[in-house]
């Protein structure tokens, strides 16, 4: 439906004759990504019955992946957790479940993320600091002690070694009597964004991509309820990208995985329904909501028109969101409760399927129990008290939100074209394109803060002198030795010869084109450690060193 000529004249007239009578404050009227915002949006900016907006649960899913949205089912409240050894983290898992969270999310420590065992010299000082230390199946068993894996979905944030952790999880469930095909959950696996932003790698890009495709293929056959990849923008954004870059690079990574799986010979409708996404929920409220809506519309269109998907489930983008860690301040930490609330609300109004809310003390450390409880309560208050769950896509039809959604979409396609010109995402990464874009955006934003063009309360304005330091979680240094002892015990108990055979078999398979999941599972079953399996594969694949730009 065309906008009536009368409406056009009216908006222009208002701008020229009414708005211009008042002065503007001396401030930036753009999003935190630098996207300019107009003083007013009107019917001129959008056609409310545009089929590009559509209906929730129907192509192009702009208004949500499901018809009923939160009337049918609330988002999963899924707090990222992990520190110390599996004993401490299992305790935190139980605490969170007891306080009403509805899904698990596992944070692993730096050595585990980078493929090092806890007794490796590079693990010194790092064990259990940023997440939980997991070296073998023995650890994984205790991580989920008292938690029936058939009754909960679990997310695991791990990428280069993802196949190994998935093997551990499947085996723990098997020991609990639960077959793999019944398991629901997600493993992050998104290696492209590692080279771009999170920077946790074990292998060069091509063998790493092979492993991703192996997992997509294997899960499509053996674990129909499982999400083998969580195509992520969170980390890209935390590294300093704009919202537009987060959207574009994430979707382009996703398309790249789709292409590789199709090249492998998989039917897109056999794996696409279980591709999932993970976005940042940052502080610029409307930009985030527009970002999620644009993401759904772009994914739906490309899956149908470019990749030939026939099933609606293949076109339907579903995502987890985490409130922006980088927005938290060490100064006046209680202000972070406000930030997290706004960010969580944006994610909900944007239609997220799963949500982690940061704790107020997380600018400097992992969260204490008290702080993470407040973060969980934030979600529960939004869900039960605010009323925003009563209808799908409450902001749909808003002139501002629809216009911003359109503009986010256009910006994304601009980036797709540039990446295609470079030869696709893998080649773009080799040439440092997304990395440089991110570094430039991060620097621009920091200059804006330094020059006070943008304000962060408590940091460059509304500063409070003489604050008392907030009590924060301290990781007991003794836990590192405790984990090393656990690892030695595992090695002492296991059948060393069986491990050797399993690792040799893994190495053999790695040098072929076979799917590596079966040999990884067998090695895991024999109690080969994560580090041992990674080394076996590195002997075939090699390692990776970046050539950084700044």
């Amino acid at each position: 439906m065309a906008v009536e000529p009368g409406a056009k004249r009216r908006a222009h007239q208002w701008r020229e004759e009414v708005y211009s009578q008042q002065g503007e404050r001396d401030a930036e009227f753009s999003t935190m990504s630098g996207h300019p915002i107009e003083p007013l949006y009107t019917a001129e900016d959008t056609a409310a019955d545009d089929e590009r907006i559509g209906y929730p649960g129907e192509y192009p899913f702009t208004r949500g992946p499901y018809p009923s949205m939160y009337r049918g089912r609330l988002w999963t409240m899924r707090q990222f957790a992990g520190f110390g050894t599996v004993e401490e983290t299992n305790e935190r898992f139980h605490y969170l479940l007891d306080h009403g969270q509805t899904g698990l999310s596992t944070a692993f420590d730096m050595p585990t993320l980078m493929g090092y065992d806890s007794d490796h010299h590079r693990s010194l000082g790092e064990v259990g600091r940023e997440g939980v230390a997991v070296d073998s199946l023995d650890d994984m068993e205790q991580l989920f002690a008292g938690i029936p894996l058939g009754g909960v979905t679990t997310s695991m944030t791990i990428n280069a070694p993802a196949a190994i952790l998935l093997a551990f999880y499947v085996l723990v469930a098997e020991e609990q009597g639960i077959p793999a095909e019944k398991l629901g959950g997600t493993i992050q696996t998104d290696i492209l964004k590692e080279y771009i932003a999170q920077k946790e790698w074990c292998f060069p890009i091509e063998p790493a991509m092979r492993l991703v495709t192996d997992m997509i293929e294997w899960c499509s056959q053996k674990m129909p309820r499982w999400h083998p990849v969580s195509i992520s923008g969170y980390h890209i954004r935390e590294a300093g990208s704009t919202a537009q870059q987060e959207l574009a690079f994430t979707l382009k990574d996703g398309f790249t995985y789709v292409e590789r799986a199709i090249e492998r010979g998989l039917d897109v409708d056999d794996f696409a329904p279980r591709l999932s996404f993970f976005f940042n929920a940052h502080i610029d409220f409307f930009e985030e909501i527009a970002k999620y809506r644009a993401a759904r519309r772009i994914w739906a269109r490309e899956m149908r028109d470019t990749y030939g998907a026939k099933r609606e489930e293949s076109m339907r983008l579903r995502f987890h969101a985490q409130t922006a860690g980088v927005s938290l301040t060490a100064q006046q930490p209680l202000n972070n409760v406000v930030r997290t609330s706004l960010e969580a609300l944006a994610a909900v109004l944007g239609g997220t399927q799963s949500l982690h809310t940061n704790s107020f003390d997380e600018a400097l450390a992992l969260p204490t129990e008290e702080a993470v409880r407040v973060a969980l309560r934030t979600q529960q208050i939004i869900a039960t008290e605010s009323g925003v769950t009563n209808t799908a896509d409450p902001l749909g039809g808003s002139y501002f939100v629809e216009k911003l959604t359109d503009e986010m979409e256009q910006a994304a396609y601009g980036y797709f074209a540039r990446i295609d010109e470079l030869g696709g995402m893998v080649e773009a990464i080799r040439r440092n394109f997304p990395q440089r874009e991110i570094a430039d955006s991060a620097f621009t934003y920091q200059r804006e803060l330094d020059e006070r063009k943008r304000i962060v309360v408590g940091v460059n304005d509304f500063i409070q002198d003489g604050e008392e330091p907030t009590p924060i979680l301290k990781i007991d240094a003794a836990l590192e030795q405790k984990q090393v002892d656990r690892l030695q015990a595992t090695k002492a108990r296991r059948d060393g010869a069986a491990v050797e055979r399993a690792l040799a078999e893994l190495k053999r398979a790695a040098a072929t084109e076979e799917n590596l999941m079966p040999s990884i599972i067998e090695a895991a079953r024999a109690r080969a450690t994560e580090g041992e399996m990674i080394v076996a594969m590195q002997e075939v694949f090699g390692t990776y060193t970046e050539s950084p730009v700044f």
């Binding site: 590079r122 000082g125 790092e126 980088v326 400097l364 700044f550």
Partner: protein
Amino acid sequence: MATATARKIRVVVAKPGLDGHDRGAKIIARALRDAGMEVIYTGLHQTPEQIAETVIQEDADAVGLSILSGAHMTLVPRVVALLAEQGVDDVLVTVGGTIPADDIPELKKLGVAEVFTPGAGTDDIVDFIRAGAAERHQNTD
């Protein structure tokens, strides 16, 4: 009397350990370069040994250790000790990252000149390094 040398201040910006958070380190590296200093960014996943070697090889006036993994109380003392072992005691050592307030006094006792925590202004960091490195220039003339 100090000679009016045109030698730029040389700063190594380093990422010790397994920590992959490089947003801040890259911003500081660029800001220092824009401020006219010679910047050597080590990239990620540096061992303390690699960092000490880079500082010495590059004849650095200052080294900024960026660390957000919680492993700072192991890795920073190790870098400081290695520099001392090699007889390098005039390099300005600064630390940036997610460093709890409680850890700062101990780091400073070890010889870290300053710790820049979240919210620190870029210009303050640049000024501190320029002043600290210049002081060392004076002391060696």
